[in-house]
């Protein structure tokens, strides 16, 4: 896996480079600004771009704009956005079209090295990574409103992990259950929410996200 990074804090940039390198991910470019990042994405065609949402010069939406530009112009490059704030609105802006090869994580997640590397690898391979807090915020939004309340605690746990972008195998490992039970839970969840359960894992996630957002 080849990655490029844009992060204006030297401390964190070096930290991320080290963590990824230790995990065997090749960091082909580490930059401070969105412009440098975009140039690298064009010239080196990495598997993933990891972007801080606030970048110089104005520290407003440069990172987000760069992320959306990469999503639009380089569909083959995964984009993982790092933010210090939980913003459902931003996550949904990033994932509005598709969740394939896209992620939105709180920056804090970097320090959970194993989880972070897992998320990077997922996004690099066309999967998704949505911060657990975003997921729980979205789920709580629909609290008290029918179908979600009908889920068992186990189904709910499976749903949360699924929306975070984990594969069925990932969910099974995480909850220490069999792959078959995960598949059973997933099908039951989709039944209860009245959503079609077919299609790829990414499509399933998008369907649930749109359901939660509406």
């Amino acid at each position: 896996v080849r990655a490029v990074i844009a992060e204006d804090s030297v401390l964190l940039r070096e930290g991320v480079v080290r963590v990824l390198a230790d995990a065997g991910i090749e960091v082909v470019g580490a930059h401070e600004t969105a412009d440098d990042l975009l140039r690298d994405v064009r010239s080196r065609t990495p598997d993933i771009a990891i972007v801080d949402i606030r970048l110089p010069p104005t520290h407003s939406d440069e990172g987000m704009r760069a992320a959306l530009a990469i999503r639009a112009d380089h569909p083959g490059v995964g984009v993982l956005v790092l933010s210090q704030y939980v913003e459902v609105g931003l996550a949904m802006t990033l994932l509005a079209e598709s969740v394939e090869g896209a992620g939105y994580l709180l920056k804090d997640r970097i320090s959970d090295v194993k989880e972070f590397v897992g998320a990077v690898e997922r996004v690099a391979c066309g999967g998704s990574a949505i911060d657990p807090i975003i997921v729980s915020t979205l789920l709580s939004k629909r609290r008290g409103e029918g179908p979600l309340d009908g889920l068992t605690p186990r189904e709910r746990a499976v749903l949360e992990l699924m929306v975070e972008g984990r594969s069925n195998q990932g969910i099974a490992d995480r909850l220490v259950i069999t792959l078959r039970s995960v598949e059973k839970y997933v099908s039951s969840i989709f039944d209860k929410l009245g959503l079609p359960s077919g299609g790829t894992e990414s499509r399933r996630v998008l369907a649930v996200l749109l359901y939660l957002r509406s």
Binding site: S9, R18, R54, H59, M64, V88, L90, I110, L138, S140
Partner: protein, 591 residues
């Protein structure tokens, strides 16, 4: 039209005519009138029978007297204007012309020499109305040329003979040459008169708005008079038709001109009774807003503008305390400053013709004195209010910037460091994978850091909603709606981004509204609507809770109201007990 600042308190000392001078001129006027009359009656050609020549002669006498006395009235009523003196001179010149009726050689010669001067004098008088001064080089050239043509060519013509036995200037007898000179002379004066009409017309158009009514009528009468003079001269030259009729009309117009002017004066005098009307107006309409209209009515100048002097701000301002610029010298408006007890109160920008009715101006401004003073205080108060609003907006804005800076510092400083620290501990944890106690303690430390980050995030977010600045209100509100304790229907239709201060205020409003919902309202749903209107933005937060919210309950709503009002907006809260709560903020915003 050259206008100058004409401040009442700084009027140059005006020499009011002395009684002796008035009496002398008056008596002289009567005397020359009597002389003219005597000459007319004793002249064989004129006074022999009661006919047209005699009536014309009597009209000439009338014109002499009318101009002298009209001039006297003008002079005493308008000592600042030269117009009165000009009229007096015109009257006496008319008398000089009547000397040509004399049987005395010297008197006849002098009178005849000035024969054609009369129309030029009237041209001069009309053009010099109302200040008594000609405006600009062209007018001076025109009048000078007129006088030269009238006098010099008359002298030449007299030297060529044909004027009878009393002409002292006759050098030779050449009727043909005399006739040519006469044609040239009359046509030239006629053309000059028509040029005068043109000047009056241009002047009237250039003033942009109609002159005040009385002046406009006078000017029109002058134009008519000048046209008739021109027609008369040309007609007489080429023995055209209607000579007699035009002559009559001319004499009557010229004869009535001083009457019109004196009537104008009397009107001004009568207008002082407008001061009475003004006082009644001001008694009935005490609102300062009516003051300008009342003054405009009393001064018969609908274009009048009123500006109040605000000494603390060192500027003039309108009634709402907004600074205004007064016309400057060279503008087509004139400014009169109004003082009361030695302190400047206000200034009136008005039509220049009002300058000639300075006592009316004085009377009106004196009559409106207290009302003007009240209005000045009103304007001053408004200016203070405006300043206060401005400074409140600046304070809120400065606060916002400072909080924005602090948020930035937290974001780039403490938060990043804590994340880096947590990462460091995490890497350490991996290295010490065999030491169970160490890894457990490191994990606990990381959890502590995680909790601190959580708290810091809340603090930073409370300081400044960075996502509003960075990504706009619509995106930021989604998180608020998602975090609310009840389902929120969110609708944001504001088009492109709004000014940041406005977006931040709207964000806080929704944030506080939804937070109150969680704390007090016991609601089951809420709606948040942000709508762009033609003049601003409306933010509404409605719930179906228990109601009963008011500004006094917490500092939250008061703070919101401050924020909204600082932006020139208004926050209203409807919260009847048991009927839910509606927060509605309207904030102005240029489209």
């Amino acid at each position: 039209v050259a206008a100058s600042v004409f401040p009442l308190e700084a009027t140059q000392p005006v020499r009011v005519p002395k009684h002796a001078a008035i009496w002398t001129i008056g008596l002289a006027g009567c005397a020359v009138g009597a002389i003219s009359l005597t000459l007319a009656l004793t002249n064989g050609g004129i006074g022999a029978e009661l006919g047209e020549p005699l009536v014309i002669a009597l009209l000439s006498v009338w014109i002499t007297i009318a101009y002298v006395f009209g001039g006297l009235i003008a002079w005493t009523r308008r000592p600042a204007s030269r117009f009165g003196l000009l009229m007096i001179i015109a009257g006496f010149l008319m008398f000089v012309v009547t000397l040509s009726w004399s049987e005395n050689d010297v008197a006849y010669t002098v009178g005849q020499a000035f024969d054609v001067v009369v129309p030029v004098v009237f041209l001069h008088v009309f053009l010099a109305f109302p200040s008594g001064r000609l405006r600009g080089r062209f007018e001076r050239l025109l009048v000078t040329l007129g006088y030269a043509t009238a006098i010099v060519l008359e002298l030449v013509r007299m030297s060529l003979g044909g004027f009878g036995p009393h002409n002292l200037l006759e050098l030779t007898e050449s009727a043909g040459a005399a006739e040519i000179v006469r044609h040239v002379q009359l046509v030239t004066v006629s053309v000059i008169s028509l040029c005068g009409v043109g000047v009056l017309a241009v002047r009237r158009r250039r003033s942009g708005r109609p002159l005040r009514r009385a002046s406009a009528l006078l000017v029109d009468a002058f134009g008519l008079g000048l046209i008739m003079i021109a027609v008369l001269l040309v007609s007489a030259t080429f023995e055209g038709p209607w000579v007699a009729q035009v002559r009559w009309a001319t004499f009557i117009t010229i004869g009535l001109a001083p009457l019109a002017f004196v009537l104008g004066l009397l009107r001004a005098r009568l207008a002082q009774s407008a001061v009475g009307g003004l006082l009644v107006d001001l008694r009935d309409e005490t609102a300062p807003a009516h003051l300008r209209d009342a003054l405009a009515r009393a001064l018969r100048d609908s274009s009048l503008e009123l500006a109040f002097w605000l000494p603390e701000f060192g500027t003039y301002a309108d009634l709402d305390g907004r600074a205004v610029r007064l016309p400057e010298p060279g503008d087509e408006r004139m400014v009169t400053l109004i003082e009361r007890n030695g302190a400047r109160i206000a200034a009136i920008a008005h039509d220049p013709s009002l300058q000639d009715e300075s006592e009316l101006l004085e009377a009106v401004t004196a009559g409106a004195g207290i009302a003007l003073e009240n209005a000045q205080l009103h304007a001053e108060q408004r200016a203070h209010l405006e300043e206060l609003r401005g400074s409140r907006a600046r304070i809120v804005d400065a606060g916002r910037r400072e909080r924005q800076r602090l948020e930035r510092n937290l974001h780039d400083g403490a938060q990043q460091r804590l994340i880096a620290l947590s990462l460091e501990l995490s890497l350490l944890e991996e290295k010490l994978v065999n030491d169970a106690e160490a890894t457990a303690r490191l994990a606990a430390a990381r959890r502590q850091i995680g909790a601190s980050l959580e708290e810091l995030r809340e603090v930073a977010r409370g300081l400044h909603p960075a996502v509003v600045s960075g990504h706009g209100l619509a995106v930021a509100l989604e998180q608020l709606a998602a975090n609310a304790v009840v389902p929120v229907r969110l609708s944001v239709s504001i088009g492109p981004r709004l000014p940041e201060a406005l977006e931040v205020a709207a964000f806080y409003l929704v944030s506080e509204g939804l937070a109150n919902l969680g704390k007090h309202a016991a609601a089951s749903w809420a709606t948040v609507a942000v709508t762009r209107t033609a003049t601003g933005v409306v933010v509404e937060v409605v719930d179906d809770g228990v109601g009963g919210a008011d500004e006094s309950r917490g500092s939250g709503l008061r703070g919101l109201a401050d924020r909204v009002e600082a932006l020139g907006g208004r926050l209203r809260v409807w919260s009847p007990a048991g009927k839910g709560t509606r927060l509605r903020a309207e904030m102005p915003c240029a489209p």
